[in-house]
């Protein structure tokens, strides 16, 4: 029983947050910060798989987020909202609470396929070349969408809030918050299971010595494919959730600045540490809000902080250790090892 303590505590905490939001004890601002935190945790931990565990240098995470955001938003708008171009909603609002997760899955799948496109060149090249490919891919995605007038081009499109309204009409609870929190837990859970298995350990093996890994029977191409697709699929999930939180999408939110933000979180947390990435994402979200008063200076201060970090503590908050390494007693309380 003790082994499930952590899981119980976690879900109790989530339930608490939902209740607080439901009864407006936590006002809308804090709820939205919480939701951005969740999205950031998903982004940081998914990028950490590729940039941290696998030691690659992927600079285009925003592109995958974008694919997920657009695909899942298009699905929800098609299904539940009246739109100038796409017409009347296809499904009745009662299905919203099933339709939305399905739309999220569609977005993730699309993003995972996009990840495949980047993964294949990674079979033969590493490091700097992959940086270019991912960078260019990010630009290509943004640029392509900018040219697609049918989905709004550079102005983006709206309509996602109709899905939220549909769900709330059925049962008035903070649906989006719930989905974000569940999505966050799911991401960390699935990544944790992957990296703690012998299968997943093939990824750091590739990072530390790819040739040895290949000769010791690790199918490096397959592992790279899994890692990239998992990483970009989860970024797509973050994108779909993000779009729902905002109620609209436009391509600029997913450009190189976004990719850089996610990289900041990953390197802040420490490469190769899942708990580090999650913690750093939470910290970073708080920092962004706290520094809001700085306006544009925010984006001078944050890079400076990271430069200082590189100088004095390049391994980030947690290096490549996990919370369970720092606090071994925690191991008693959860069942996945």
């Amino acid at each position: 029983m003790q082994k499930y303590t952590a899981t119980i505590v976690l879900f109790a905490f989530i339930a608490l947050l939902v209740v607080l939001a439901q009864f407006s004890i936590l006002d809308r601002y804090y709820v939205s910060v919480l939701m951005f935190m969740g999205v950031n945790v998903i982004l940081a931990s998914s990028l950490n798989l590729v940039n941290g565990y696998m030691g690659e240098f992927s600079c285009g995470h925003g592109g995958f987020m974008c694919v997920g955001a657009y695909v899942s938003s298009l699905c929800t708008v098609l299904m539940f909202s009246k739109n100038q171009i796409l017409g009347a909603p296809l499904l009745p609002p009662q299905f919203a609470f099933i339709g939305f997760p399905l739309a999220l899955m569609a977005g993730s799948a699309a993003a995972a396929i996009a990840g495949l496109v980047v993964a294949v060149p990674s079979f033969k090249t590493r490091g700097d070349y992959l940086a270019i490919i991912t960078l260019a891919a990010n630009y290509i995605v943004i640029s392509a969408i900018n040219n697609m007038e049918i989905i709004g081009g550079p102005r983006g499109f709206m309509g996602m809030s109709a899905t939220e309204r549909a769900m709330q009409d059925m049962l008035n609870i903070p649906w989006v918050l719930i989905f974000v929190l569940l999505g966050t837990v799911f991401t960390v859970w699935i990544l944790r299971r992957f990296v703690s298995s012998t299968l997943g350990k093939g990824v750091p093996a590739i990072c530390q010595d790819e040739i040895a890994a290949e000769i010791m029977s690790v199918d490096t191409n397959r592992m790279k494919l899994i890692a990239f697709m998992l990483s970009s699929g989860l970024a797509g999930l973050a994108g779909g959730l993000y779009a729902q939180v905002l109620g609209y999408v436009n391509p600029q939110s997913f450009d190189i600045m976004r990719s850089t933000e996610v990289m900041v979180m990953v390197y802040l947390g420490g490469m190769g540490s899942l708990s580090g990435a999650a913690l750093a994402a939470i910290l970073f979200t708080v920092l962004m809000e706290a520094l809001r008063f700085l306006d544009v200076w925010k984006w001078v201060v944050i890079p400076l902080l990271l430069i200082l970090l590189m100088q004095f503590r390049p391994e980030g908050l947690m290096g490549n250790k996990e919370l369970s390494d720092l606090f071994p007693k925690l191991r008693k309380y959860y069942s996945f090892k």
Binding site: I190, R193, F194, S197, T198, L199, G200, K201, G202, P204, A205, Q208, D209, I211, A212, A213, E214, I215, M216, S217, V218, D219, T220, N221, I226, G272, N320, F336
Partner: protein, 255 residues
């Protein structure tokens, strides 16, 4: 059908012929050595077998199957494992993980199993774990199971590397200069270890080695190469008396 059959193996790098018409046939359960001066092409032969390079000419057959075009991990899955001249352990992972990962080709569970932690996953991971611990126990490495390689003495690291190779459950074990960098006590330990592996596992061991003590005390057959070409092949006694071999190693002044 022999375990390993190499015929007419040639590998060129631009104008340099690293391996020239190399031939060998190895059966099950043999202890063979490949010796020769530095730069003779020995490691290149191992790299060709591993699948790291493709032959320019000739073929390599493992248990009758041609390895042409196979990627290294596929060659390993056929039952070939090796160690490297400079120890290539994964530095940020502990010894136990190093050994477990070598079983990647027979994990026996899918990605979905991994996510859902199905019964199959749990059973297979336990099996992988058991095999790893068995090897650690047998090679006297249990105490350093959770150590990082860089915190271990060089001789112990070498043993870990060999344990990792054995974790593949190979029919053919390639050891590339296993005694390199070892002090005399460790060399003794290595000789004992190799003999122990040979006596307890159905594996053919083929080693590249410069230290004659190791070669002579272990191997029943020795192949000598120089400048990519085979210059002698036979039992230790025959090789020791072979003039061409002596000339290759010591120069022209006959002793």
């Amino acid at each position: 059908m022999s375990l390993l059959e190499i015929n007419g193996l040639t590998r060129r790098f631009g104008g340099l012929i690293a391996v020239n018409d190399f031939n060998i046939e190895l059966g099950e359960h043999e202890l063979v050595a490949l010796i020769g001066p530095n730069g003779a092409g020995k490691t290149t032969v191992f790299n060709l077998i591993s699948g790291f390079y493709q032959p320019s000419e000739g073929y390599i057959r493992l248990k009758g199957k041609d390895t042409k075009g196979l990627r290294p991990h596929q060659v390993t899955a056929l039952g070939v494992a090796r160690t490297f001249q400079g120890i290539r352990l994964w530095g940020e992972m502990h010894v136990l993980d190093n050994i477990r990962i070598a079983q990647h080709y027979r994990l026996g569970y899918s990605l979905l199993d991994c996510f859902l932690r199905t019964k199959n996953y749990t059973l297979r991971e336990k099996a992988i774990d058991d095999i790893a611990w068995e090897l650690l126990e047998a090679m006297d490495l249990k105490d350093c199971a959770y150590e990082l390689p860089r915190n271990l003495p060089y001789g112990v690291q070498r043993r870990v590397e060999i344990a990792r190779a054995m974790s593949v459950k190979p029919s053919l074990l390639l050891l590339d200069e296993p005694a390199a960098g070892l002090n005399s006590a460790d060399v003794e330990g290595l000789i004992k270890l190799v003999r122990w592996i040979y006596d307890n596992y159905p594996v053919t061991i083929w080693m590249i080695e410069h230290q004659m003590k190791v070669v002579m005390s272990l191997c029943s057959r020795i192949k000598v190469v120089d400048f990519g070409t085979t210059i002698a092949d036979g039992s230790p006694e025959e090789i020791q008396k072979n003039h061409t071999v002596i000339k290759a190693y010591l120069g022209d002044d006959t002793i």
